[in-house]
């Protein structure tokens, strides 16, 4: 970075503006080359772990257990995936993950949307403190909550129950769901709601018929972010659940590491299985976010 900067004495180009404009451009192209090389190096560093994950997942085990790892894949196999999906508790893990994530995200979405509507539309005493609480609770260290929650659920006899984990996940994703949906509520013009009410809608009707459809992209984005977060969580699931057939996918992934060593081929294949939905949804959100935001900008 600094080296590339040193070779670009820009101020010289701007002494006489109109005249300097023309030689400035080809000059610039030459400088770009250095930046491009650095950019490609950064690309390689950021992309390599993802690349290695994929390569290792599709590599036969004899190549994985080799002292000389080749950077390019020379053969291709689904063995690792077959082995991973044939491990015990794989299907129950998928089932647990889906039940826990979908339920908690739906719950968070309902509670979060009505709270977001309140803080995005009304000005009331306690609104700002409420918003600050939403931010502050996200900064708590996980163990500060984990230990008391474990003890509490243990007293209720509810460890190893789905609902304990569901409640924890629901509330964990609630603050940023609320915060994010609120950003979209603020962008829906108040006049739309008011004109619906002038036309005879009740407040509830106006919310359901006018606001909610306009919030749809925001809700989709918020729910996907929440889903990703819940899907990626493992610590609470690991501690609060106890039976192998209740564990979520993330905890299942730990089974590849045993005291005798790690089955890296299986682990990488399992990781791909866990990561693929996340990556797809993440790309989806980025797009949704963009369209949601640009459509707001056009109206504004």
């Amino acid at each position: 970075m600094s080296a590339a900067n040193a070779t670009a004495p820009k101020p010289d180009a701007g002494t006489e503006r109109p005249a300097a404009r023309k030689p400035f451009r080809p000059d610039r192209k030459k400088h770009r080359f250095g930046y491009d090389v650095l950019g490609l190096v950064a690309f390689a560093v950021m992309a390599f772990p993802v690349y290695w994950l994929l390569v290792s997942a599709f590599r036969p085990n004899r190549e994985i257990r080799s002292y000389d790892q080749t950077l390019w894949p020379s053969s291709f196999t689904f063995d690792n995936f077959v082995r991973a999906t044939e491990t015990r508790f794989f299907w129950t893990a998928i089932q647990s993950s889906l039940i826990i994530c979908v339920t908690s995200v739906l719950g968070a979405l309902v509670i979060g949307t009505i709270a977001a509507f309140a803080i995005g539309r009304f000005n009331f005493v306690g609104r700002r403190p409420f918003m600050m609480v939403l931010i502050l609770v996200q900064m708590l260290p996980p163990t500060a909550m984990l230990i008391p929650i474990y003890v509490q659920l243990n007293n209720l006899g509810a460890t190893n129950e789905y609902w304990g984990v569901i409640v924890v996940y629901l509330v964990s994703v609630l603050p940023f769901t609320t915060w994010m949906v609120r950003g979209f509520v603020v962008n829906v013009p108040r006049e739309l709601e008011e004109s619906a009410m002038v036309d005879g809608c009740s407040r509830m009707g106006a919310f359901r018929r006018v606001i909610l459809p306009l919030l749809a992209p925001g809700l989709a984005a918020a729910s996907i972010f929440a889903l990703i977060t819940a899907w990626n969580e493992y610590l609470f699931a690991y501690v609060l659940l106890q039976d192998n057939d209740k564990y979520t996918l993330n905890v299942w992934l730990m089974n590849f590491t045993t005291d005798r060593g790690t089955d890296y081929g299986g682990l990488m294949a399992g990781s791909v299985i866990v990561a693929v939905p996340v990556v797809i949804f993440f790309m989806l959100v980025q797009k949704k976010m963009a369209t949601g935001l640009t459509s707001g900008a056009v109206k504004g």
Partner: protein, 339 residues
């Protein structure tokens, strides 16, 4: 929840308002308009409604965040062990004994020092690399920028567990690609080298995962902030004879400073709470020299079954973080995000 929650979590709400900031001023005006003649009409019927609407959220947050936090404080002054956990008896009160035990334990101070050092190194490296890459992205060709953005988004979307597994696989002593690549360099033979025997080397690998996972958010946020720097200002400064460093210090950085501070503060909080990367890298059983405050508290509670010690350590962590959190809130208030 864990750090990965926060990473996708807080990142998301950060994005939404900031990206829409283009439409912000008009937005605000739009809201001022109806408010002028609105409140009287709406006033009476609207009073209880907002409270009704946020009530479920408050109950939920109270149950899963506030109550456990209160419990953490209470338990820290008791002595809760395995017996109390299973019998359901209320544990005896011991006053400040847990804290006296903790502060008298040299391991606690070692862990705290390690946590702070690890946080400082990770945040420093993340912010430096992040700012460098963001500025680089402004200057590189479009196709390189698109490639890099793709890689950043891919890295960002990797679940923490998956990313940690990949880095553990890199550093595997027998078949890891790190050893076999480094051994190709002349004069280095790392075949069979175990990176985790020496905690300094082990933490280098752990820091690599943390930084690799944190950089995308920083780059993308800072890059968005950098596009807000007015071109005319930069050109004017160059005309006045400022060098590239001068332009950065006096023109570019002041514009991106609020965003930079915000991201840095968030990174401090996330990296202080690091748990998963260490926990998973050491196969769920980190050795004493790999303990950070979160791990230390977790192991005291769930491995030594001394739940009260665990909560006391967690409480100390919360108090250490409180200052940073207040600082973050003040910045949020200043930028008007909480309006």
């Amino acid at each position: 929840m864990s750090a990965d929650t926060a990473k996708t979590g807080v990142a998301a709400p950060e994005e939404a308002p900031r990206n829409s900031s283009g439409g912000r001023p008009g937005d605000q005006a739009r809201h001022e308009g109806p408010k002028g003649n609105g409140p009287k009409r709406r006033g009476i019927s609207a009073v209880p409604l907002p409270y009704l609407l946020i009530a479920p959220a408050i109950v939920a947050i109270g149950a899963v965040f506030a109550w456990p936090l209160v419990k953490t404080v209470i338990m820290s002054f008791q002595d809760m062990g395995r017996r109390e956990l299973w019998s359901g008896d209320s544990p005896p009160w011991v006053g400040f004994e847990q804290f006296a035990n903790i502060f008298g334990d040299s391991q606690f101070w070692a862990v705290t020092g390690r946590t702070v050092l690890f946080m400082v190194v990770c945040v420093g490296a993340t912010m430096l690399v992040g700012l460098g890459l963001a500025m680089l992205m402004q200057r590189m060709s479009t196709w390189v920028r698109l490639l890099l953005t793709g890689a950043l988004v891919a890295a960002w979307s990797m679940p923490l567990l998956v990313a940690t597994s990949v880095f553990r696989w890199f550093a595997d002593s027998d078949y890891g690609v790190a050893n076999s690549l480094l051994s190709k360099l002349p004069g280095i033979d790392l075949q069979g080298h175990n990176w985790f025997i020496n905690p300094w080397q082990g933490f280098t690998i752990i820091a690599a995962v943390v930084i690799w996972g944190a950089v995308p958010f920083v780059v993308i946020t800072l890059y968005a902030a950098l596009t807000q720097v007015p071109r005319e200002l930069v050109e004017a400064a160059q005309l006045d004879g400022a060098g590239s460093f001068g332009v950065f210090r006096h023109v570019v950085f002041p514009v991106i400073k609020p965003v930079f501070q915000m991201v840095a503060t968030l990174s401090v909080i996330w990296d202080f709470n690091i748990f998963g990367q260490v926990f998973l890298m050491r196969a769920n059983k980190p050795e004493p020299e790999y303990q950070l405050l979160g791990i230390y508290s977790f192991q005291k509670a769930f491995e030594s079954s001394s739940f009260s010690q665990g909560t006391a350590i967690a409480l100390v962590t919360v108090l250490l973080l409180a200052g940073v959190a207040v600082y973050y809130l003040r910045q949020l208030l200043k930028t008007g995000e909480v309006e």
